[in-house]
Structures are given as C-alpha cells and as structure tokens.
Symmetry: D2
C-alpha cells in the first residue's frame, strides 16, 4: 500500500497543549498538514462567539484537527497492540484501516468557514459537503496528496466523513456518541476556556475501547470513565456551548450578515463602497471552492470594521455591538410564556428598534445520551459495553447514572432583546413607561 511506503524513518512532533505532542510518522500526513487548505484552519476560530465570553478560548480549528488525528492515531495503536485481527470478519482491528482513519480524522473539519453555523444559516452553505468536495475535487492540494495512496483513496476518506464507509469501526472512531472529534473538542475547549467541566479521563477511555463486530465498544470495567465523558459533555453544553451571552452575540452576528445581504438585494439603500468583495459570491449564492477558501475570521471582521461606519444605521449599529461586545440581554421562556412574545416585540418596536434585527428567539437543547432508535431522524449509534464473557450490553442498562439522564433533553429557550429595555429611572423619561411595561413581564430571568 502506498501509505505505509511513506512511513518516516523518525517520528516528527507538533507540540500541543492538550495532548502534549502530536506525533506524525508518515509523509502523507505531513504533506496534508502543509497544504494551504489545511493551513487556512489556523484562521478560523474553533468556538466563534464563545471567545467573547471565555476570553482564553481563542483557539482555531487547526489545533483541533491535529488533536482528532492524534486521538485516532492512539486508538489505532491501542487496537493494533491489544486486538489485532487474525482473520477477516473476526471483529478485531485490521491495521490496513489506519490510513483511511488517520486521514479522515485529520481532514474532518476542512470545510468549516468563519463563524461556521451562523454563516451557513445565512448563506446556505454546508461545511460537511464542502469538506467532502475539498477531499474529492481533483484540483485541491489535499486531493492530490491523497491520491498518492491510491486513486480511490480520496473517495474512501470522504465516505468515512459521510458515514458510508464499509467498516463501522473506522466510522465510529471519527463519528459516534464518543469519538475522536468529540473527545478532542471537549478537552480542548475545557483547556482554553479554563473550565474543568470538559476534563474527563481521555487516556482511560482510550484504554477501555475495543473493536467489536459492529463498531467500537467499551470494556465494562471502564464504565465509569464513559459515564464521566457523558457528564462532561453535558456540562460543556450547558456551561459553555449554550452560554446565553454567546448565543446573544451569535444573534447579533447573524442579524448583521442578514442585514448586509438584504442591503445587497436592495442596492438603493447603501453606498457603493459598502460592497464586500470577498462576500459577493455568497450574496449571489454562486461561489467556487476557491471563493470559500478565501474566507476566514479576519476577512469577516475586517468587513465588520468597515460596516461600523456604514450609512445604514442598522448595519452600523449591529457591527459596533458585535465588535465592541455589547450583547443583547435575554430571558428564559417556556411554551406557555411564548404567547407573550408578540407583545414584547411590539414594545421593543415602540421603543424604536426594528424587531427583525433587534429581537430573536433561540432554543438550544442537547440529548446527553441517546439509546439507538432506528426511527430517529439521525439515529445515533448507542454506546455498548463488553462484559467479562464477551456479551455486549447497552450502557444505560447498567449505568444508573446514564439511565437517569438518557433521553432527556437538557437546555433552554431564550428571547433576546436590547439591553436598553431593562433600563430604570433613566434621564430621558420618554421611553421609561415602555421599559417599565416590558420589565413587568419578567421575573427572576424568566418571561412570565
């Protein structure tokens, strides 16, 4: 095989604050890292607006991608040492799967753009599709390097990311409820945010993993390490990823991009110098891979910097709020209280704000752990434990801790609005009655 021919005589390392060292022992991997497509990931932050709440978390997708590769590499080593396949179909690990596993791990986030989810929502792009195109399009550097392994190797790598690769062990390494991707980002985001919540025992989880016939399972002796991972993940969602201020700034970001797009579609409303050259293909909805690769966080914030001085008041104000971190406020609400929302939007409009751009609702929920359900929209592989006699048992059958959280979504629904609505006893008396009425609907951070 072409991959193993390019093994390096001596390992190379990248120093990494989470895994200490990322070990590269193959020329293919090294060449992939050195492509412009992969280097671009240095310019796309991992956590987007969360860095504005957790100021330490300014890290990019570059380090995360290396980390996912490194965890996958350790999985392969562990499987090869302890569970090497003797015969096809014995459910053990065949080390010939290593190249496709490592490359898919390294490249799984290649298609992420700046402020990924918000951008995708406004411009209808999809990072998974783009990742696969970057891997399979013959003109990319990535593709050319992958083809050194074999002509169909790029398609194999893409199929792992697409979950259609034949070997479920490889697919689950990269994508399952407990995979290299999630394990890296939990540790990494915990490290950079300075929270402890994401710190589970990665080494222990890796040690109790084992290949089985239908994918990857865990020794029952390591059940507590798996429980800890699940709780860590849940806490990171509740504490970091669903942080209300972070979601507030995402709202502002989205509305800013939405306004810019609207202005493009209504040319009478803006000055010609507004036109953000590198975003035009996305306003048009006709963009090439190259257009996409030109974007990064710096390009977008540079446009925001310009927009602060735009002639359109809404765009200028939203850009200023975003860059200078002036988030909207929010309150929790439930389905019953949702009937109040039109009234609140009316008050906000009366107070002088365009409710399309100055209010939003957002509901963020996470299933801590999901038992396999073939009827689900995107059925998740459930987590299974191997008992001493080799029989498998689904995690929530034996873990009372996991059983108590399984299937129950955690999260909340929030309504976002300008901070001005919370003012009291302000000097300009004119809006105070509106503010007072608005505030009368709130109690202990809830909409009542």
């Amino acid at each position: 095989m072409g991959f193993f021919d390019e093994q390096l005589p001596k390992e190379k390392v990248f120093r990494d604050p989470i895994h200490h060292y990322i070990v590269v022992d193959n020329q293919i991997i090294l060449d992939l890292i050195n492509t412009p497509e992969f280097q671009r990931l240095r310019r796309v932050k991992q956590l987007g607006t969360s860095a504005l709440i957790f100021h330490g978390a300014e890290h990019s997708r570059f380090g995360h991608s290396l980390g996912v590769y490194e965890i996958t590499r350790r999985m392969c080593n562990h499987f090869q040492r302890n569970y090497p396949s003797q015969d096809a179909g014995d459910g053990l690990w065949n080390d010939r799967e290593r190249p496709v596993a490592l490359c898919a791990a390294l490249l799984h986030d290649l298609g992420h753009g700046p402020f990924s989810h918000t951008f995708e929502h406004i411009f209808h792009t999809d990072h998974e599709t783009i990742t696969q195109r970057l891997i399979t399009s013959p003109e990319t550097n990535i593709n050319q390097i992958l083809r050194r392994v074999s002509p169909d190797f790029p398609a194999q790598v893409a199929s792992v990311i697409d979950h259609t690769y034949a070997n479920p062990q490889v697919v689950q390494m990269i994508s399952s409820q407990i995979d290299a991707d999630r394990m890296d980002y939990l540790q990494r985001d915990a490290f950079y945010t300075g929270t402890n919540y994401g710190k589970f025992d990665l080494d222990r989880v890796l040690k109790v993993m084992r290949p089985v016939q239908n994918g990857i399972a865990f020794e029952i002796a390591g059940m507590h390490a798996v429980e800890d991972y699940i709780l860590s993940r849940l806490q990171m969602y509740l504490q970091v990823y669903f942080h209300p201020v972070s979601r507030s700034l995402e709202v502002i970001l989205a509305h800013q991009l939405k306004r810019a797009k609207w202005l493009y579609q209504h040319p009478n409303d803006y000055q010609p110098e507004f036109l953000p050259q590198l975003l035009m293909p996305f306003f048009n909805g006709r963009f090439s891979l190259e257009d996409y690769l030109t974007l990064d966080d710096g390009v977008l914030t540079t446009y925001f910097t310009h927009w602060r001085h735009a002639s359109d008041d809404i765009l200028a104000d939203l850009a200023d709020r975003f860059l200078n971190r002036r988030p909207f406020k929010s309150v929790l609400y439930d389905e019953a209280a949702a009937t109040r929302l039109p009234k609140l939007r009316d008050l906000i409009t009366t107070a002088g704000f365009n409710a399309d751009y100055y209010t939003a609702t957002n509901s963020s929920y996470k299933l801590p752990y999901d038992v396999y359900n073939p009827q689900a929209q995107t059925p998740q592989s459930q987590i299974e434990l191997v008992q001493p006699n080799g029989e498998l048992v689904e995690l929530s059958q034996v873990s009372t801790l996991v059983a108590s959280v399984a299937g129950k979504e955690a999260g909340d629904m929030r309504f976002f609005f300008p901070k001005e609505m919370l003012e009291q006893h302000q000097d300009i008396e004119i809006f105070q009655p509106i503010y007072d009425e608005f505030q009368s609907y709130l109690h202990n951070n809830h909409l009542i």
Copy 2:
C-alpha cells in the same frame, strides 16, 4: 477578643499540592498545628486501604486537616468581602465567627485513629467523640491553646463539630452536603489517586456561596458548579471509595483484628510473645486518650509484621494477605441471589477455609444528593440556591441533572471469598470439584 489579638504581623504559609499555599495568619492556629495531637495526624493515612489500589494515594489526615482549614479561611474572606453583616440577624456574615470556624475546621478530624472505620468497628471506638474529648479535656495541648481565646472557646469549637453550635452558617461550613471537609477530601483524594473524577471547580463554588438566614446558600448563576461538585462526589464514591479491591482489603484487615481480639480472649490459643502491648487497652475496652494517641498506622502495621509469624494459622495468613496485598475476590449479588450465600459459605468451608474469617458481605451505597427530610435518621441540610430576587429554591427543583440522581442510592452489594475458589485445572485435583461447583454460581461477576 483573644483570637484577633494574636494575629501575625506577616502571614505564614505551608506549601500544599492541592491549594498551593495554606495561609496561617494567627498564632493560635500555628500553635494548634504544632501540638503532638495534631502532628500525630501525619501518621494516619487519609484513605486507609485505598492506598493499596491507588498507589499514589498515601497521603495522611494532616494535609487534609490543613486543607479544610484553608477552604474555611477562604469562605470567611469571601463572606467578609461580599456579605458583611450590618446588623445582628440580617443573615449576613459576622466575622467574629471566624475563630470558631477556623479552629473547628482545622481540628475536625483530630480523633481519627489508624484505619479508622475498621478499627472503630472492631474496638467500638468513635472518632467524633474522641475529637470532642481532645478539644474539651483540660489536659490536652489543644485545649490549653484554645483556652487562650476564652474559657468557653473549646466547648464552642466542639459544638461546631457536634452540629449544635448556634450559628448554622458556621456549622454548614464544616458539615453539610457541600462543606469544606468534603470539598477538600474530594480534591485531595482525586489529586493523589490520579483520577480526574473528584476535580470540580472549587474556586467557583466558593465564589457563589453566600450566607443566608438559615445557613449557606449558592447563587443560582453558579448552579452548574454545584451540579459538578455533586457528580464529582458521586463518581469518587463509585470509583475510589467503593472500589471492590479496597473493600476486600478492609475485610481482611477487619478479620485480622477480630482474630487478634479473639486470641486475646482465648489465651490458650497463642504464644505469650503475641501480646501487642499498645493494643491491650483496646482489647480490654478500657483505654485513655493517651492510649489512643499512641496508635498510628505504623504501630498497627508493625503488629501485622509480627503476626505474619504468629503460631495461629489464621492470624498469620490474614496478616500476610494484608501486608503483601493478596485481596479476596468478590462478586456482586442482589437480594434474590443472597439466598445462595449459605451454600457458597459451605463450599468455602469444605475447601478448608474458616468462613468466619475467609468470607464477608459488604454493601456500600451513597445517596448522591438528599432533599431535606426531617424523618430521616440523620437529616441532611439540603442545598438551596438564591434567585435574582433573593428567594431561595431547593437545588433539585431547578437542576434536571440533580433531580435525576437525587434520592437514588448508588452502590452495590458484594460477597468476598478467597481467590483460590476461582482456580481452574490446578495441579492438586482434590479441591477442583468444589471449585467448579462454586464457579457454577457465578456469571459475569455476579452471583446468580
């Protein structure tokens, strides 16, 4: 007040691997630390037999006691900075409570003996009673130092440990579901065992604590830190404190002491040189505080060292199993399977073991979190959160995570027996049929 008169002009510090520095700024505290009673805690391990499973965890109660003091000191500082009492009865913090809080924190474990719980069980001692006697008995060095504060100060300190002190804030600092004692030992035991499970965000919990009328509550914004603490505690119980091999070695330890006591009561069965001088008062059931203070881990293991060569086979064998770490094996069982236990004990007896000393059952359960129940045997103060408008709400009312674990005990029941019973195809054929029958009752580590 006598305490504040002895403030040190410059703080002194003890370097501590968990809290980095223990800060002492009062001569009373320094003098307490330097007493023989307190220095003895260096010779009593914090985790007893767990050190035989987690080899890194050989730490003593000395460091833990300093740690509880340090956490309490930080609580006082936080309360005094942010919630200073203005008027009696305002439910805020009166810093005149600091002396009694600090001394109770430092001294709360003073009465622990070697292998505390096992020793107490066999010899009917009680470390809490002894702690209070060491504080209130006029002959101890501890008492003499405490009396420098005021004549009734020792009694006040003892009443905090006894939970009868008038100010519930002080009592809850030292003893509640989330107190300085538990917070220190979770962090400390996690550090030394090398597990991550006990690592919650201590600083964050301290920052969201606040004094309220009936004790201590937590700002609702810090709910996730409290959740994390509760889950960390639960995981430490399941992973470390209830570790089956640790409980197995406790069984051996207890049976060894039980056998020694039995031999003392049956003088014909041992050689005169057996008599362990320093344990005699405990065999007799008549011991002084001084007798108690003479004991430590080293004294007990020195007797075990001698007992390995005792003429009594059972004592000698149990001592050897303990010192050389040859634990009993165990299986899980439930109430239904418990009916099998007599049969298993019979087989073990047939195989040549005295079942009184070579088998045991142990059930270890922990309530992760307990809502206040005045009917409970030892009602626990529940955890309450302070909402933005100042109203209190009980934790499990707002935390779905805590609600899902509250009130459900976690743990297991195990049956312990000699490893020999699991042998297969051994050379000496005579016992193999007994072993085979024994093993036929076991399946996947469960008794069936």
Copy 3:
C-alpha cells in the same frame, strides 16, 4: 477619592485559564474593559508569528492585559495585608496607590498594533507612545473613564507606563526585571504554547515580594523562587521567543510589508485595486489614533489574502509564503563567518531571488539578568533581596545560579534564505551547481 467610591458591592469575575479568575471589584475597571479601545485587544495576537510554530498559542493581548491587572491586584492585596504604611516615607505600601497601579497594569499594552514589532519597524510607529496617547487624549473612551477618578488621573496612569511616576513601587510593579507584565506573559505563553519552561511559582514570588524605600524587593527566603523566574524567562526566550522559524516568518512578514510600501511609493508597478485602504495612512506616515485603532490582525491578513493574487510577483509570493507557512531556512553564524554573507547573497541572487526580499540577518540576544548599571542605555532596576535584619543585597551577590548567568547575553545570529537553496539532486539541473556551492558553506546548521 473617586476610585474607591465606585467599589462594587460584590466582586465580578472573568474566568481565565492562567489565573483561574480575574477579580474585578470596581466599576472604573469594569468600564475600562468594556471600551472599544480595550476590546480591540481581542483582535491582536499576543505572540504574532509564534502561533505558526506553537499552534496552541493563538491567544490575544486582551487576556494578557487582564492578567497583568490581576497580578497587580494580588500584589496590592499582599502589600496591604502584610506591609501597610503607617507614616509617609516609611517605605511601606500606601493603598491609595492602588487605583493608579491597577489602571496602569490593565492599560499598559493598549497601543499594541497587529504584529507589533514588525509593523512598528516598517511604519515607524511606537506602541508605548500610542498607549500614552490613548490614555491622555480627551476624545478616547478610556480617557473619559479615567477622568472620573480625577482630572489628572490619566496623566498619572500614563506616567507609570512612562516610568516617571513618583512612587517607584508602583512603577516597578508594572515595569522592572520582575514585574506583573513579564510574570503574566511568561505564564500565559507557557500555558498556550504547551511548554513547561515558563512555569515558575507565581504565588511564591508574589508572597516574597515586599515594598521597600526605593521600590520592590524580595525576602531572601524566597530567593530560589526568583532564580526560577529568571531561568524560566531565559528559557522562554531561547525556546519560544527566539525560535528560528518564528523569526523566519517575521522576516517574511516584514519583507512583505516593505514590498507593499515600496509599491505604494512606485505607483507604476501595481494595479490600482492593490491599494489597501486601511493601511494608506501608514504608507503616508500620517495616521490618526482612529486609523490606528482600526487595524488588527484580521485586517492585515485580509490584505495578505488579496496580495496573494497581486500582479507584483514578489508581493504575491511573500504573501503566499506567510499565509501558507512556508518559512525561509536559516543558519547560525558568528562575526568571523559574517564575511561570507555577501557571497551567499550573490549565490541567492544568481539562483533568481531578489536578495533584498529573500535574505535577511537577525540577531536575537537577551540578558538573563542585569545588575544596575547607570551607564547602560536603558538602565534596569536590579533585583534586591531583604535579609533577616532588613538589609538589602543584590541578587547575584548571593545566588551563584544568577551570578553565573548575569551579564552574559544569550541568543544567536542567523542568516535567512529560501529553502530552495538546500535542494539536492533536483530534477531541474540548471540551478544545482549554485545550490551545491551554497551548501558547501554550511556545516551542522552553521555558516562556516
């Protein structure tokens, strides 16, 4: 005083991965952090090109500035607890200095631009001057907040940064051989790069600091902590700040900006769309504070992104090398070998490279510790230790470790050139003889 009037009733915190929490207990500090001038620091990386070598180190000057504030706050607390001034002139700490110390600490890096040193070198800006202008110019938000303390407070804060403030204790807190600035960045850069070298015992250093008549000294009992700091600093310089690949990318960055400036000055050589609008004031040498504040890392890299497609080959190639991390190679040389440099530049020119843009020399040296020398260009305050009887002694007099490194510069001189010059046996034979001759001057990474 106006500052203490704005004390917050309850402390606020920022979670920080280095100091765990940054504690803010004053409205002035909070308002300064929320200014656009301060928020901009989120968009300027702390380590510039080093992030391309240590991929974890993508942190900004925002967190560092908070960290310097936090360390200074801890110094003030420590001084106030242990060394409070009783009488003017007693050489102890007067807590009325706290406001100026805290504000100077927070704002000391306010004037840093993107890729600071390189940018300054090409465009003749100076971040220290700009910091002072941002503090003292009446139109900035920063200035308006500072004036709430008193009309001359901005000037006082600026004078601390300028080292001209009357109280040397305050000046040395922010700027000396062992100050809050250096202590934060060593810890922070060590954390993010994933190196251990910068990790000295910050808590210990803070605990042994004390105010003295002429500034700040250290208890002799803490000498080893100071030694450790000095060695950590030295190692961070040698390992991280002077990393040859980082310096190579700085060379490429500088040459890229130099080329852009040259093109601006030679309008015939570029296409009109090249003109980087936000850099024009700097090409012109006439920029306002507002022009300066518009710049950040994202703005510059956005121009580099455009320049990759510039019609000027040199600019396009350098931009590509920088963005896609294709550093120059380098070799060490000494004064004797420097005579060879013209010959090497000739060979590089012959191989088709413009030596002005494709070669460079760089010498990076650091004095590990400097005894006070009034004749020096920028005399450094030396480090002094307080002996038990109160007498001061200069550090290198008592520390053999510091004595052995004091006054000896550590670092190296390097010559940078395109990697192509190191090729061997390449397919296109035409340049190989030139490459071979070039390589004949190199031996073990040295120019001979």
Copy 4:
C-alpha cells in the same frame, strides 16, 4: 527468550498521578510487582524527613519504582520505533535488551530501608548491595521469578544496577546524569511537594534521546529540554533535598538511632523493656536478608513512639523532637567561621545540652552537571548531543547555560543546635547570658 513468551495478550495498567498510567504487558513484570519484597516498598517513604517539611510528600518508593519502570519502557519503545538495530555493533537499539532494562528499572531501589541514608550511616548497611543480594539470592521470590527468563538473568539484572553490564545503553537508561531514576524522582517529588521546580518536559527529553555507540545521547535540537532538566534537578536539590529543616530532622533521627545503639552497648543505662526486637540484628551488626525486609518506616516510628517514654532522657527527648517535629535550628558557616564551632559547642554544653547529641554539622553540595573526568572518584558519564551530521558534542560545549553551572558545586554548610539557644528575654534568667553570647556569633543566619 523466556521473557517475550510471557507477553500478556492485553496490557494491564496501574493508575499513577505522575505518568497517568503505568503499562504492564508482561507476566514477569506483574509477578515481580506482586512479591512481598516489592510490596514492602509501599512502607518506605521516598523522601524520609522531607515529608515533615513538605507535608504533601508522603509517597513511598513503591510508586517511584513503578515510575522508573514506566519511563524505561517508554525509552525502549522510542528506541525500537526510531532507532532499531539492523546489525550487531551499529550502535542502535536491540530490543532483546528490553527485559534486562525493564527488570533493572523496576528493581533498582529494592534494597532501600526506612530513612535509608541515615539508617545506613548508623548501622553500616548499604542499599545497593542489598538490592543486588535480593536479586541474586536464590531464596527470594524476586530471584525465582527472574530465573524464569534464564538462569543467568538475575545476575544480568544485578549487573545493570552495578553498572557492569556490557551494554552501556542499558546501564545509562538506569543510571547516568539523566536517567529514568532521576527523571522519575524529580517529577514525582515535585508533584507531591507541590513545587514546580522539578517539572521539566519529560516527554520532550524522551523524544530527543537516542542510542549511540557508547550509550545514550540527545539530539541537539532538544538541547533546551536537557538544560531544563539540569536546572530543574539543581533547583530540587537546593529547594527540597537540601532544605535546612529536613536536614535538621535527619540530624535528630540519626542522633536518636546513635543513642539507641549506644544504650544497647551500655546495658546498665536502660530498662530491659527498651530492647527493640526487630532492630537487634542491626545493633549486633549481624542481620539476614529477612531481618532487613522486616524493617519499614512504621516499625521504626513504633520504636520511637516507645522511646518517648524511655528512662534515658536523651533518647526520650530526641524521640519526642522527631515525632512531634521540633527541629534544631541552624546557621550557615564557611571554612573561616568553622573555627568558632568549638566555642559554640561549649556554650551549648554549658546551657545543659550534650553536644554529641544536640549539635551537628552538615554540608550538602551538588554538582549541577559534570563533564567526564576519569580521575574523579566516581566518574559520571557526561551528556552528549548529536549534531545534524551525526557527530557528538559534549553538552557544556554548546550550552552557555550549562557551561555556566558545570563543575561548580551548589549547596551549603550548616551548624545545627537546639532552638533554645535563640531565646531572648526569657523568664528563667539563669541561661540568658549564655544565650546572648551564643547569639552574638550569628548575623543574618550566618555564623560570623
């Protein structure tokens, strides 16, 4: 070979707070760990009296021994992956050396007794000799297990510890200026003491190690990691191992044992119940391996506990000082001031103390790094770096940092005496003039 036949199908792990996991993949290693001889190491503290200064550092030689094994295992893996021998004599790594390397690493401290160096000094035992006897004597469990590899395998393992094994790579792994033993104890002691000084980058050092013809060398690219190790080691010596209070308590310990021995030799001076049974063979100078293996820290402190009540005042007082941590005080002195020592001893005698037991001098010096010197008493292998072209260069030739500390001993000489000599204005006036004269010889912790 017998060793590799006993490879475990699946790796076993020991959780370790320093290395996270100790990986055991061979039955021989597992069986060695389970011997009584190895389990005894749990009852011998690694740092002896240092635990009385650094209260966190109560760890035993058991964990350290596992740690040295683990580091050696990683070295073998690194060598085998990156530098596998192709031909005998090529200076690369032959993995058939792995068994002897691993066993020597695991067992290198087997002969350590309680309070090792002090005990050896008083009773003329030698832990290295005993280690070798425990390995080579046919009656030990250790020896019987090692013989499963081959009849001469025990002698081979012992010869590594004796530095006479033929392959210098193996010898240097276990014993050189930068070996697995030192690397483990520096990290481990730093962790448990809570100091940072010992924390060098172990992973990096391991990655830059490589086998060479005459032993082990380091890639020049990793020079800074080696420098950091050397400075860390130096700082641990100065800060932890040479801590004056720790040495003071060692003095008390030594004098206590010396007094006990003297009493044994002067039977008229003690009560018959004094006789410490398990120490008798050492008082006699005739002890068996079994006698030696019976000793541990607990046995000795149990005797100290008894001695506190001995009829001999000196023994009783010294035992009390040791157990209750009442150290002697000390001052620094140099050769010139040493002439004063007889005078000081006279004053101490006049004040009522037996100077043989209540004073001592101790000089502790460490060579930070030693260039090879064949004339030295115990010539140390020097550290060599591998240059890009393969040539070796001695470390201090290229590292200015190491050059500045090489060959210069660091440490001090101290004179120890009872704290009472420092009293001032005490109530009992009779000794005050003696104390005053004593104190007149001291200045800033120095003898003048």
